[in-house]
Amino acid sequence: MKSWIAFKSILMKDMRNYYLKPPNISWGIIFPFAWTLMFFLRSQTTMDIRSILPGVMAMSILFGTTSMLAVTITFERRSRSFERLLLAPIDLNLLMLAKTTGAILFGIINAFVPVVFASFIVDLTGINWFVVFGSVFFIAVTSTFLGLLIAVTVSEVFEAQTFSNFFRFPMIFLCGLFIPVQKLPAILQPLSYLIPLTYGADILKTAINGEGHLLLGLSFFMLVMFSLMFFIISTKNIKEKWIY
């Protein structure tokens, strides 16, 4: 069977049905714009804009991916249309990759909205764009798989939203985006290193401002490990809970 046809169709359907809907496009633009504007108003100099850019980018990815995926999968599960996908002759791993690719792309696009805004205000020269793209991609993948894990753990859309916030907000404060990990209380510092966003944010900080404190290779490795862990647990959950 030509699995790529199924993969492409699932991705295109999700893009049309969920990600390219006007409310979601506006969410993808307004959310990063609002964050950028908020920090811009607080900033005293244009240098501050550049220093908060990694944080705004990472948050845009985290919120964009987890919100969308948790809702779309829970919604399809409730309407039983997800069963149609489980009954199709597509390998479960490929099916879940098809379901998550839309969210990954959505997250990547969200990440560059603040970059576009910032480009009108500050000088963005000297940024290692190759590393930025790499980190954006891996943050998007990890966040999407975290959203997937949440989606397959809950059964209602509102539970997915609540559960997402339970993870997202502590992550923002613990990942070193706004308060460097080294300046956090000693008791919280180990927690920071259990959060994937810590590694993603550190790569972005290194690439944009040269302020990261972890080895790039280690951070990328940790993001890959977190992605694999979230994905494997999610597919295991599906096999156990949805194919009952």
């Binding site: 169709s9 359907k13 069963e83 199709a88 194919i243």
Partner: protein, 319 residues
């Protein structure tokens, strides 16, 4: 040649056994009916056969493929129509069919051609561009069946295909299934509508409490029942009194009161009507009608399972 072979199929949820070691085979070209009341294990069985539920014990082979080990390979040969329409509400009829074809790896051009062909076949060509959520229940079910057959499956599984839909759509679906079967598709359907099973299926299994209590060709099941002679009498009233009198006069027959004015007489041999009519006369009862009843599958089902068909229909309505 068997397309589906099921041996000792069992499903347990903790201490509860939903399906208890059932055995059956479906021949290529069969319309196989799985008949039973709600909670009998029909949907659990179909879920195990199609990969939506894990098999606790037993084996399932579809066209030689071990479904327990290689379900994804087996799913390529299956068309599946669940008991509730589960297409995408925001997408229109054509988009839904196109998407379902793509899930089976069909090329765009072929999907489009087949989608239009099916929309015509199920009488939804005019509604092709309407969103699925705007369809009536009957239209939704027809489109769901079309989605199940877009990839030309070898076997089509249908779970309660006509439950809760209007008469016209139900007739349309039955005709569609007959045509589909004529074109070579094997059909496996679950239903609690006995008349539907009688009309559509050439083989039937009765399932009660997770066990198959009878399995045979529809012809043979009916033949067994039709050996028995049944005559139904309609009189003005006093039916219970009449039953007593008849029982006393003709103890070789069996009797069943249908309602206040109707009684049925059962016998393994031919029933002599004249002496019975004489009894009515002697007791000053007016006989309105006497007719020979040809036992239907309903009688066979009631006899074998002890479950009244009316009760089953009511349960189905509540579903």
């Amino acid at each position: 040649m068997n397309i589906l072979e099921v041996k000792n199929l069992t499903k347990r949820y903790g201490d509860f056994t939903a399906v208890a070691g059932i055995n059956f085979a479906v021949k290529k070209g069969d319309v196989f009916g799985f008949l039973g009341p709600n909670g009998a294990g029909k949907t659990t069985t179909i879920n195990m056969l199609t990969g939506l539920a894990k098999v606790t014990e037993g084996t399932v082979f579809l066209a030689g493929i071990d479904c327990v080990k290689h379900m994804k390979k087996a799913q390529e040969l299956m068309g599946i129509v669940p008991d509730e329409s589960n297409l995408y509400p925001e997408m229109n009829g054509l988009e839904n069919l196109d998407f379902c074809g793509a899930l089976y790896g069909m090329e765009k051009k072929e999907r489009n051609r087949k989608a239009w062909e099916l929309l015509e076949q199920v009488g939804l060509k005019e509604a092709a561009k309407k969103p699925f959520k705007a369809y009536s229940k009957g239209m939704k079910r027809r489109l769901t069946i079309a989605a199940g057959i877009i990839h030309n499956p070898d076997i089509l599984f249908l779970d309660e295909p006509t439950t809760g839909i209007d008469v016209e759509s139900a007739r349309h679906i039955r005709k569609l299934l007959i045509d589909l079967n004529k074109s070579g598709t094997t059909i496996f359907l679950t239903t609690h509508y006995i008349e539907e099973a009688e009309r559509l299926c050439n083989r039937i299994a009765f399932i009660v409490d997770g066990k198959i209590v009878k399995i045979d060709s529809t012809e043979k099941l009916l033949e067994t029942a039709q050996r028995e002679k049944i005559v139904q009498f309609s009189v003005d009233n006093c039916i219970l009194e009449l039953q007593g009198i008849l029982q006393q006069t003709f103890p070789e027959y069996k009797y069943k009161v249908i309602d206040e004015q109707t009684i049925r007489v059962y016998s393994a041999e031919a029933i002599d009507l004249i002496p019975i009519i004489e009894v009515f006369k002697d007791n000053s009862l007016t006989l309105y009608e006497a007719k020979v009843i040809k036992p239907s599958l309903e009688e066979v089902f009631v006899k074998i399972t002890g479950i009244e068909a009316k009760k089953m229909k009511n349960e189905g309505g509540k579903k």
